[in-house]
Amino acid sequence: MSANDKPLLSVDGLQTSFYTEEGEVKAVNDVSYQIDRGERFAVVGESGAGKSVTSLSLMRLIDDPGRIKGGDVTFRSPSAVATLARKFPEGVATENSSGYIHVAELRAESGSVGDDPGATVRDRPKEVATELDDGSLHVEAGHVDVLDAPAEAMQELRGAEIAMIFQDPHTALNPVYTVGEQIAEAIRKHLDMGEKAARERAIDMLDRVGIPDPAERYSDYPHEFSGGMQQRAVIAIALSCDPSLIVADEPTTALDVTIEAQILDLLKDLSDDEDVAIQLITHDLGVVAELCDSVMVMYAGKPVERSSVEELYYDPKHPYTVGLMSSIPRIGDDRDRLETVPGTMPDLVQLPSGCSFHPRCPYAEDACIQHEPPLVDTETGEPIEEPDSDIHTAACLEYTGDLQDGVDFDVQIREDAAADGGESV
């Protein structure tokens, strides 16, 4: 298996907590997932499920009183590895010293390094990175340990490799700088371009995201843009430095429905054309169906179900997912009232014992109060090694065989699922 077959992003056992006066709020509690190159991955859940905190954690943008407690975030972008190795040669991990930049295959673009022609230099990347200061460094494979990277290295990753689109475009742009300047400043920072080149590229970006008269609108201030155009500008910022991953945090929640469709189409086109992966955070399963390939459902800081989008819609396995699905209104639906998931998200300081969803789960048994269900392959009931979304996993005791009324439960879920899933697609 070549290095490029490995996922672009692997999040493994991520834990982020906020230390408040009430106690430790476990906003993200052992979350693992993978995103492949160019994949569109959705993180779904109610407010407070830990979706946004997951994304901000991988950007390392968690502010006090929050702290990333544990886990690994592995980012496998050759360009990121090359940039960081060039700028921070002391951060390159070698066999006998620790570092956060792991270079598997590193060579000069010409194929030779200094006076050592044709050598791959995985054994002395530090020296090579320094030698190749002219920028001709070429990385075949490698990865960056995002959570171990120092602040300066994170600044090189943010915007350049991992970009972000925010929920509310009205407030996401700085009101006192022109839209163009806010795009150009990222370009100047990451692509080593001068004023003029950065300006031209920013205008191209505005054009790319569908802003008419981009050269003129460059000098407009955010308040002179409509909401949809502001979000397009935010997307232009995210796109401006050719990132390999865009994290979109509820990018359409603050927009009109018609604009929402346009923005989703734009994101879809961009990810197809530029081969950029998208991590979409949303509470809207309709948006997921529209845009994404695979999906992770979160509840109370944990993933409860992970699968491809198709699997999830046709065959949801977790009672919470089923609850979310049946709360979506549909055309041709003759129910008087929409189903809701009863109750609210539990207090993240004092999580319920066992399965955190049991107080709201219509199928909960005694076992659910005592045992916390692991995330397992729904076919085999065994935990899987890599958090691969191609394998359908769910965190419910049903699939570990610990439920007494397992069969009953199984049938009820499938009835629900067939009805809901069938109509939604």
């Binding site: 915007g159 009101p175 700088y177 920072k189």
Partner: protein, 315 residues
């Protein structure tokens, strides 16, 4: 609306304000007890004939609006007549003192800004921890200390005991090294309270801005902490700071009257005190008018700064 059009509009709006200011200043003489003639004569007994002659000479028999018009016409030419005490021209006396006061005021304001804004930024970044608390206490002390007392203490410690500065200003040109050295203590005295206020305001306005979404966007672009603070947050925070800084100019003008007295500084403030004690009406009028006009113009500058700082403000 373009900035130029806004400027023209603002200048036009200033005309009635300035007229109001001149009317108030002019009425000063009419509101004082006694007749202007008493002030001209410094309340000395004299013959009714001389009084009548003075009334005629100063147009005091004309209707009041004619008197106002005549005064205004001269005032616009910066002709405020002669001082009643020294017989020098009022404008000459003021212009003679003005450079000293401008130097003191500019230094005081400069200190207020140069200390207030950076410390406010530091306090905001350290929101809630010891640095922030220490700055809060320092600001309270700064605001609560009366300037005349602070001035006396500085004189006592640095001039009398340590002998670092002269107690009385040297009789030198305004921008000479000796004067520039002497002005340090009065400028600190004048700027302390304002710097404390500007610091608190910078801090609170930065803390508010730091929580805004655009800060996260800027960080997500990979900008350094420094760029995020200085380029993005500070400029947004400055809108409210400019308002207060403009008000501080008025405070500094007021303060300079007291501080000039404490440090024997030969400025307009002392001229004003002398004019009051000596009942020198023309000088008093001219200085009051000058202060009022200054503050009107400072506010104009503040308004122009707003629209430069925040393009959403374009009236």
């Amino acid at each position: 609306m373009s900035l130029q059009r806004y400027l023209i509009k603002r200048l036009l709006v200033m005309i009635p304000v300035l007229l109001g200011v001149t009317i108030l200043t002019f009425s000063l003489t009419k509101m004082l007890p006694g007749s202007p003639v008493d002030y001209i004569l410094q309340f000395q007994e004299t013959t009714p004939g001389l009084r009548e002659q003075l009334r005629a000479q100063y147009n005091l028999n004309e209707p009041i609006y004619i008197q106002y018009w005549l005064w205004l016409r001269d005032a616009m030419m910066l002709d405020f007549g002669d001082s009643l005490i020294s017989d020098r021209s009022v404008s000459g006396a003021i212009l003679n003192r003005l450079p000293n006061t401008l130097l003191l005021g500019a230094m005081g304001f400069g200190i207020a800004i140069a200390i207030g804004i950076p410390l406010g930024v530091v306090a905001a970044i350290n929101n809630g921890n010891t640095v922030d608390e220490a700055s809060r206490v320092a600001a309270l002390i700064g605001i609560a200390t009366p300037n005349f007392w602070l001035g006396l203490m500085l004189l006592l410690v640095f001039s009398v005991q340590l002998g670092l500065f002269r107690v009385i200003p040297p009789d030198k040109a305004v921008l000479s090294p000796a004067m520039l050295k002497f002005v340090i203590l009065p400028a600190i005295t004048l700027g302390t309270a304002s710097s404390a206020l500007i610091m608190r305001l910078t801090r609170s306005s930065m803390v508010e801005e730091l929580n805004k979404d655009y800060v996260r966007t800027a960080k997500a672009k990979g900008l350094s902490e420094r760029t995020v603070i200085v380029k993005h947050v500070l400029r947004n925070s400055m809108v409210s700071v400019v308002t207060v800084a403009a008000i501080q100019v008025a405070f500094i003008v007021n303060g300079s009257v007291v501080v000039e007295q404490v440090f024997s500084w030969p400025g307009v403030g002392r001229l004003l005190i002398d004019a009051i004690t000596q009942r020198d009406l023309p000088v008093l009028q001219a200085i009051v008018l000058m202060i009022a006009v200054t503050i009107v113009f400072v506010n104009l500058v503040a308004d122009l700064l707003y629209s430069w700082l925040d393009p959403r403000i374009r009236y």
